[in-house]
């Protein structure tokens, strides 16, 4: 019974982690872009709250402060707005497929999180708890498989919308995601070679004992960062949804919660890639110079926050890039994918293999 409860708690914790990161990315998107562009950004929601209720009163100043920071807007207003909007489905399309599409693009991303270890082990009573929902030995391959599945949601959305712009956006997105997945796979293989394991938890442990992955494999880090941005269809790679050409790309015909689900999936994917980068290259929960007793609760809590901070930093870097660079054209993106990223990652893989065998 207790192991089952522990599993449930882990799943609940992971889910809140995903939602927290999605909200954090939205907040970054609002306020970081505002900072970059000399704007103020969202600062109105929650500021004008008034209540004489005994229980609510203490929270009003807190809410006002959060409102000025734009947090209230991100946490509450978006969801409320999306829920109360009309759920629009175009006529003469399959309502089932149209509704399935946002789920098909969100669920695989959420599932990929299952193999991510988000803190070091700890012991409560007699139970050794590993903060990882699915302890499978091929963790990194599972991530790869799940992110590859996300393309189906995009394809379905473009196809079931009965809109030419959606279709073009979906075509672009699927071509882009599939092209960059090849490079991503190559980089993953390089990292598997480098660590000689497929288990993400062991990879972090190896980095804690040795050096961070970014020291060993700086090129892989850079490549995976680029590929991750292309895979999440953001930053300079956001041409499937380029608002000036394709209105909104594959989710042109979506509104309300379905639209929000696409965004949730996108931000969750940013968080996923940032987390994978942290775990593969930035030492996971490793804080250099600080060590805790093995399997201590304190070590777990600190480790978790270290991981979260590193991930948040990478998210912020991605969002900063997105607000700095213009976007590619479709053929240029393909050229970058096939002529630049893939050959470099193949050479990198070859060199890693040579080093592994001979040195």
């Amino acid at each position: 019974m207790i192991p089952f409860l522990i599993e449930l708690l882990k799943i609940a914790f992971l889910l809140q982690l995903i939602f927290a990161f999605a909200s954090l990315c939205t907040w970054f998107e609002r306020k970081a872009s505002a900072l970059i562009q000399n704007r103020v950004g969202a600062n109105r929601a929650g500021v004008y709250l008034k209540s004489d209720n005994f229980f609510l009163k203490p929270f009003i100043p807190v809410l006002k402060f959060l409102g000025i920071l734009g947090v209230v807007n991100t946490l509450f207003c978006d969801a409320v707005k999306a829920i109360f909007k009309e759920d629009f489905v175009p006529s003469h399309t399959s309502r089932f497929l149209h509704t399935l599409a946002p789920f098909a693009s969100v669920v695989p991303i959420f599932m990929a999180f299952a193999v991510i270890p988000f803190a070091p082990d700890f012991v409560i009573g007699t139970h050794l708890i590993r903060p990882q929902v699915a302890q499978i030995s091929v963790g990194i391959l599972f991530v790869f498989a799940m992110t590859a599945l996300a393309v189906y949601g995009v394809m379905l959305a473009g196809w079931s919308s009965d809109n030419k712009f959606s279709l073009l956006g979906a075509l672009r997105a699927s071509a882009q995601m599939i092209s960059y997945e090849i490079a991503m796979g190559t980089i993953f293989v390089t990292m598997i070679l480098s660590y000689a394991t497929l288990d993400l938890y062991k990879m972090v442990e190896l980095q804690i004992d040795g050096v961070w992955g970014v020291v060993n494999q700086p090129l892989s880090f850079l490549l995976l960062f680029i590929v991750g941005m292309a895979e999440t269809k953001r930053g300079p790679f956001d041409l499937p949804e380029s608002e000036s050409e394709l209105v909104a790309g594959y989710f042109t015909e979506y509104s309300g919660m379905k639209f929000l689900l696409f965004w949730l999936g996108e931000f969750a994917e940013i968080a996923l890639f940032s987390m994978i980068l942290t775990i593969l290259f930035l030492g996971g929960w490793h804080l250099p110079g600080v060590s805790f007793a093995t399997n201590s609760l304190l070590g777990t809590i600190v480790g978790h926050f270290v991981l979260v901070l590193k991930t948040a930093f990478l998210c912020l870097v991605q969002i900063t890039l997105r607000w700095t660079l213009p976007r590619f054209r479709y053929d240029q993106l393909m050229r970058v994918g096939w002529n630049v990223v893939l050959p470099i990652s193949l050479v990198n893989l070859f060199l890693t293999a040579v080093v592994k065998v001979f040195f």
Binding site: S33, Q37, S244, E245, L325, P326, F328, R329, D331, Q332
Partner: protein, 422 residues
Amino acid sequence: MIDSLNQKQKLLDFDYGAGGIETTMRSRALNDDLHTETMVVSIGPSHPATHGTVRIVAELSGEKIIDADIEVGYLHRGFEKMCETVNYNQVMPYTDRLNYVSPLINNFGWCLTIEKLFGVEVPKRCQYIRVIMSEISRITDHLTCLGASAMELGAMTVMLYMMEAREYLWELIEEVTGARLTVSYGRVGGLNGDLTPDFAEKTREAFKKVRRLVADSDKLLSRNRIFMDRMCDVGKISREKAIAYSLSGPVLRSTGVAYDVRKAYPYSSYQDFEFIVPVGSKGDNYDRFLVRMIEIEESIKIVEQALTNLPDGPISLSDPRIVIEDKREVYGSIDGMINHFELVIRGPEPPIGSTYFQVEGGNGELGFYVVSDGSGKPYRAFVRAPAFIHMGAFREMILGHSLSDIIPTFGMINMIGGECDR
């Protein structure tokens, strides 16, 4: 019965081009090994890319444009016909709404045309103020064009930097004219009012900020590899073609033709100022971008020269047939009273004849052709709007490029709906 059937068949057989039937997919090359069909997408009139109201019906093979049909006229308000119903000074608010990102140039273009009809020249101070205000408007025009194009290529930040710079300039315009967009500042034979006393100081302050913001945008874009890849060799047009299409302004200058109305046919004392006319070499979007970037700096220099050498004197003609006299005259003398009455009721009455006058607008040669029958209202007026003429060459610029290339090309032409559709 048979006749009407034949007529219908004729209508069906007629090839409307891509614009005729937009929902069907035209099959092409049925004998090809791999049978493919092209797709027709209708971009606009209401689409994020078409910031004027224009409709581009593009036939796509994959993402490549193999045919395109450009439809303008969605913003037609009958400017030219409206001009015939009001007197020459009352046309001023209509000209504000031609190219609404640089309304002052339109004002002065109209004024200069009517002054040419009268055969008069305004005082030197008025000419200098017109130069100052025109050049500030030109900067706002270029900032709008570059910022909007950058935004459409995904560089939202640059757009907001440029909008901030434009805001400083619009504050200057508001200071002098009292309005940001619908300025109506020009008058036949003069101006609505003089510059404010601390205008020169405020302009220098504003230019400092504008220069900083333009430099920031320049750093973000001009040598940015992604931006250059998007702009270079896109929307190309040859020098001969550009002249044949009678293009003008930055679009023409990007092809290497150094034609600028301010240099070729100086008006409003433009011969007094030193400035260079930047020219490109390839005639692609990147050249247009650079030409506009350099012109911003040149315009700032012109304004600075004009402010340093600004002569004293009246800002309007002292001809009571053209310009309303001082209020003291109007209330104090019978002649002044009658002149005021005549001007307000009948308007300034130029001699019978017709004339054409061109000024350098933000996007090219802005010309007015006016026919006068001796009354206070134009008998006929025509606007040579650069955007309208540029849209004629637009199809040629985008053919063979990809769908994404419509965006920077359209942005760099800077089609303004109000001017194009009149």
